[in-house]
Structures are given as C-alpha cells and as structure tokens.
C-alpha cells in the first residue's frame, strides 16, 4: 500500500469510531412525537397524579384526529395545543391519532373531590338516565354502555381526571371548546346546572374501569340529539 492512502484511511477509521460513539436517533413515531408524549405520556396514559392532561390511549383514532383539527381551526382553545398542532398535515395527524388509539395501558385512579352522597347519586343519574325534564340525555347514550366510547368519533369517559372532565364541560359553555355544528355537546353542557358539572365529573372520575376498555363498534348507538361529529364525513376525521 502506498503512503498516500494512510491519512485518508486513518481519517475514515476515526470517523467510524466517532459514529460508533453516537446512539442513532430511533426512527419511530414515538421518538418523533416527544412534543405530545411529554404531557400525555409515552403511551398516551395522561399525566399522573391529579394532572390535567387527558388520557389519549385507546380513544378512537377518528376522535383524536378531529380534536387536533379542531385545535388547528380554533374551535378548541388551549394555546399550547393550538401551537403544537398548528402546522401538522392531515396525514401526520392521522398517524399520530392511530398511534395513541392503538395503545393499551392500565388506567390510573385519579383523585376525586369528596362530595355528599346526594351529589354522587345525581352524577350517576345524569350518566345512566339523563334528566328528561331538562332534555339532558344520558352520557351512556353516545359514550357507550361501559363509557369506553364509540367508534369512530366518540371518546371514552372512563379514566379521565375530574379536573379535565369538569373543565371541558365548562369550556363548552364558554365557547372555548366546540365541535362541528350542530354541536350537541355544547347544547348538553348548557343544559347542565353548574352543580351538575361537579356531580357528573366526580361520578365519572370515581368509577372503576371495565375489563374491556375498547370503544363500542361504529353504528352501535342512536344519538338522541343531532350531532355534527356523528354525521358521515368524507375525510375520515
């Protein structure tokens, strides 16, 4: 071998050594979406403790994609989420939604405020029977018998923190959360009394999660109100 090859070969050798020193960045979706998992958990389990950040794991993919789109469009207002998703394309949002929808992780029990038994009974009544006098349908009518949601667009309510559920119902009343018109959840939230929001959020947050947490199949519900999100949509969101 002639001398003139020695230096280039030595350099090559050094650069190989230097590379071996670095762990390559995993080319996975999980690695790419650190912006999501920091708050919602690596598997979408939600923040631990009483945390505000909701669970995403196992929710229907169509629901999750639609929520990102609603943050983009300004229908849902929460500045950090609006900023994070603002530039995502529909394809990327669907991929991220599918990732969280496919996660199966145990539910964590969240703290619930201590309430009088009468309040909890009122919560249970609203969830299972509604309040026909105020034209409030039961949560179960759309969110499923086991409250695990319904494919493709209705989220489960089990395992959500009290703070999150009550603040979402409040947001619907103040217009900082909205969905496609006619916005049935906005109607329902406006028919609830403030004490009802506490009652229903506390009862939901205090329930044991069922063994099977999969959403009900599509088409298994007959919505009691006209809901924009439940209309057939061409784009799958």
């Amino acid at each position: 071998m002639s001398m003139r090859w020695i230096i280039p070969l030595a350099l090559l050798f050094c650069s190989v050594l230097a590379r071996a020193d670095q762990t390559p960045v995993p080319d996975t979706l999980q690695q790419r979406i650190a912006a999501c998992t920091t708050c919602h958990g690596v598997h979408g389990e939600g923040s631990s403790g009483s945390g505000f950040f909701p669970r995403l794991a196992g929710k229907p993919a169509g629901y999750l994609a639609l929520q990102m789109q609603n943050f983009q469009r300004g229908l849902r207002k929460y500045a950090p989420m609006e900023y994070t998703v603002r530039l995502l394309t529909p394809d990327y949002m669907h991929e991220i939604a599918a990732y969280f929808a496919a996660q199966q992780v145990p539910y964590e029990r969240k703290p619930v405020p201590a309430l009088a038994p009468s309040m909890l009974r009122r919560g249970q009544q609203l969830v299972t029977a509604g309040d026909p006098g105020r034209q409030i349908p039961p949560c179960q009518a759309c969110h499923g018998k086991q409250l695990t949601g319904t494919e493709p667009a209705v989220p489960g309510l089990v395992g959500l923190p009290y703070d999150y559920i009550s603040s979402q119902l409040g947001s619907w009343r103040t217009g900082t959360r909205a969905s496609a018109a006619p916005d049935c959840m906005a109607q329902i939230a406006n028919r609830l009394a403030p004490a009802d929001i506490t009652a229903v959020s506390a009862w939901l947050a205090s329930q044991e999660t069922p063994a099977d947490t999969h959403p009900q199949p599509a088409g298994s519900i007959t919505p009691p109100l006209r809901c924009g999100v439940l209309q057939p949509r061409g784009d799958g969101a």
Binding site: R32, A35, L75, A79, L88
Partner: protein, 430 residues
C-alpha cells in the same frame, strides 16, 4: 416663549391632515363596477396566466393573511394585530359584493402597486404594498387572474379595529410621505439574472423586509436597515438579520443552508421556528429550485454588519450559566448533544444556531417554553418535535438554560433574565 415656538408644528400637521381628509372625501366616491379592458379581460382568462399567478400568490404567501384559521382560502377575515389595533385582511375571492369581483385589473394594480383602494382611499400598510410595489405589472396581472379564478365566497369583511387617531385614514397621507415610495423593482445590471430574480422575490412578493427589519414607533421600516432583522410587533418573535457575512444573523450559512431551510424547514445551521415555520409550510417549500437558488444568491450578497457594541452591565450571568448547565444536561443534551452539536436532519445544532443567539433571546426562550414540531413540508413530512417546557421548568430554570446555550460553545449572546421569561410565558401564540 421658547416652548411656544414649537407649537406651530402640531397645528400645521393637523391642518394638513384635515385638508387631506377633506380632499380624499371629495375625490373618492363609491365607484360602480367598471368594464375591464377587453385585451386585459382575455389575458385574465388564460390558463397559463392563472397557473403562473397561483405560483406567484404562493410565493407572496397571500393566503396566510387573507384566510382565517377555519375559513375558506382567500376569503379574508383574519385580524392582523398591530401596535395600533387590529386590521382585518379583506376577502379577495371574486365575490362581487364582499370580494374583488367588481374590480378591474387597474383597481388591483392601484392597491398592490400604489397602496390605494378601489374607492381611492389610502390602504393601511398592514397590507405590505411597501414591498408589493416592486412587483411587475405582468406578475400582478397573473396574480389577479389567479384570484379571479378562485371560487367566490360571500363573506363580508370585519370592521377595522384600529384605535383613534390611527382609524382616521387621512393620517396615512403623512405616513405614506415618510415611508412609501411606489416603484417596480429595477434590475441591477452589475449583477447576474439569478441575483436580480432573488432580489425581486425577497424585496417584492416575498415581502421579507416586513418582518426582517426593525420598525420605528410609527410602524415604518427604517430604510437603512433592510433585512437586518427586527422584533415582529405583537407576535413576539425576532425575525433574524439575513446577512450571511461577518456579524450577520446568518453568519456562516452556505447556499445549501438557505435553500434547505426554505424548502424543508431545516438546515444544518438552524430550523425555522415560530412564524417562519408557517411561511416555510405555506409558501417557500413550494418555490422552484431556481427561485430558491436565486434567493440564496441575493441573500449571500448582503453585506457584513457592524460588530455589535458590547453591552456593559453589572449583571453577572455566571450563576445563570452554571445553573443552566445542569438543566441542559438533564433536559436538552440527549437530543441536542452535550456540545450543542445536534443530530443532522433530526435535531438542530444549538452551537452557532441563529435562533439561539438572536439579539434579545426571545426566540430561544419561546422555543424552550413552547417546544413543538418543525415545519411539516414535502421534504420533511414527519418532523421530529421538542417537548414544551412551560409546564416543567420554572422561569429561573428557563432563563438559566437559555443563557447557558447563548453563552456556551461559540455562542456569545446576552443573558436572558427571569423577568423576561415571565413576560414571554404570557406572549399570545397567534
């Protein structure tokens, strides 16, 4: 008496403004739909012209102001925040009543080139006619042809949200005299065709100078400071100086780096963040390679800048840097590397990064607080992202880690203090 001597200035200004207002109100009455010149009318229907206009409208990023987040493209309604109040971007679809359906090309040219509306009223320069005046008549016609080919959307324009006295349009007469000179771009014969194309795009349609230059208290760009960087009013991001030479905001950037960041949102030197990520996503990623080359040619020729005057302060940033080092090792080094070297194409290097060392530190601070994704582009459809640290780090931690990355490796920027972080934490995001 010496004070009274100066009283004539506001009085004369007031008289000029009132006279200007009266003159405008006499001159400009509602104009009915005028017939388009037949030769122009046939050009406006030419599919080639429309396609060219579509490209140019993308290069000018017209849709990003003239569209609300949830609205039809080009149907207007977005309120542009300015220090003087909000200015709505109007509907520019071909609807006769609420859009520009009744406009002739000359009306459009009057707006784009002269900053004069169809009723003869001076337009607020939130519409960047200070830059668009450089667009050629031929390109303006192509853009008009494209806009006229869009679906009509009936959507009335929101009311002007400016405060007094800025809501008195005749005040613009004075503003225009100070800051606006109409004139199509004049090629520089000493430079290449590509350089001239780049200058035309950057100074004209691209309206880069509307953000990348300092504005004075009246919202005018300082003419000596073209493309030398500035804080974007109301949005709270610093638009970098664009010189690649000594002391420039992009010092050390190559032609490849400029093209890469405009096409994919990332270069070996930095990633587009904040409003620039929006610009890349909606506009520059679609530019043809020869136009990106041309922009690079022009930006590479911007002159070196004067060395910044050293700021003498009693503030000792060493404590911040030491604390920031610990935060960096724990939160940042895994992705950005222990020496701020980043991972090419995945995580931006922080050493020598223009976003990190902006003159005031607002960009790096907001990126640490907000995290988020790089621009999603055809060249980078599934970008990696950064966690938002607003929830996890205190103001003191953010100040220290940002000061650390601004004052380590080859970076020599000013410290960021806790009170700055507290302010930026509450800067609106849209």
């Amino acid at each position: 008496m010496t004070r009274l001597r100066w009283l004539w200035i506001p009085i004369v200004l007031l008289v000029i403004v009132l006279a200007g207002g009266w003159w405008l109100s006499q001159r400009h009455r509602q104009q009915p739909a005028a017939a388009e010149d037949p030769a122009i009318a046939s050009m406006l229907k030419d599919p080639g012209m429309i396609a060219r206009g579509r490209y140019l409208a993308t290069a000018g990023d017209c849709a990003s102001c003239h569209t609300t987040r949830d609205g039809h493209a080009y149907a207007g309604g977005r309120m542009l925040p300015t220090p003087f109040g909000n200015i709505p971007a109007p509907n520019i679809t071909p609807d006769g009543e609420t859009g520009i359906g009744n406009w002739t090309f000359n009306d459009f040219w009057g707006a784009l080139h002269d900053g004069i509306g169809r009723q003869g009223e001076p337009l607020y320069p939130a519409f960047s006619y200070t830059s668009f005046t450089k667009v050629t008549r031929d390109d303006a016609m192509a853009i008009f042809a494209y806009l006229r080919s869009l679906p009509s959307v009936r959507q009335p324009n929101p009311a002007l949200g400016l405060r007094f006295p800025y809501n008195v349009r005749s005040t613009l007469t004075a503003w225009r005299a100070m800051y606006f000179k109409a004139g199509v771009y004049q090629p520089n014969a000493a430079q290449s065709a590509s350089w001239n194309r780049g200058a035309y795009l950057v100074q004209g349609l691209g309206h880069c100078n509307e953000c990348h230059a300092m504005r004075d208290q009246w919202g005018g760009s300082e003419s000596h400071g073209a493309l030398s960087g500035g804080l974007i009013p109301e949005q709270g991001w610093y638009a970098s100086d664009l010189s690649t030479q000594a002391n420039g905001g992009l010092r050390g950037w190559s032609r490849r780096d400029i093209i890469d960041v405009l096409k994919t949102g990332q270069s070996s030197k930095s990633a587009a963040v904040g409003p620039m990520a929006d610009v890349v996503a909606s506009s520059t990623q679609y530019l043809r390679d020869e136009d990106l080359q041309a922009i690079a040619d022009y930006l590479l020729s911007l002159p070196a800048r004067a060395a910044p005057t050293p700021v003498h302060t009693s503030f000792d940033s060493q404590t911040l840097v030491d604390r920031g080092n610990a935060v960096y090792v724990k939160r940042c080094a895994d992705c950005h590397g222990k020496d701020g070297e980043g991972v090419p194409g995945v995580y931006p290097a922080l050493d020598g990064n223009a976003t990190v060392v902006d003159p005031i530190g607002i960009n790096a601070t907001r990126v640490v607080l907000l995290g988020g994704f790089s621009a999603v582009t055809q060249g980078n459809p599934r970008p990696y992202s950064m966690p938002p640290y607003a929830q996890q780090l205190s103001d003191a931690d953010v100040a220290s880690v940002v000061t650390y990355i601004r004052q380590t490796w080859s970076n020599h920027a000013t410290a960021v203090q806790e009170r700055d972080v507290a302010t930026y934490r509450h800067t609106p995001i849209d």
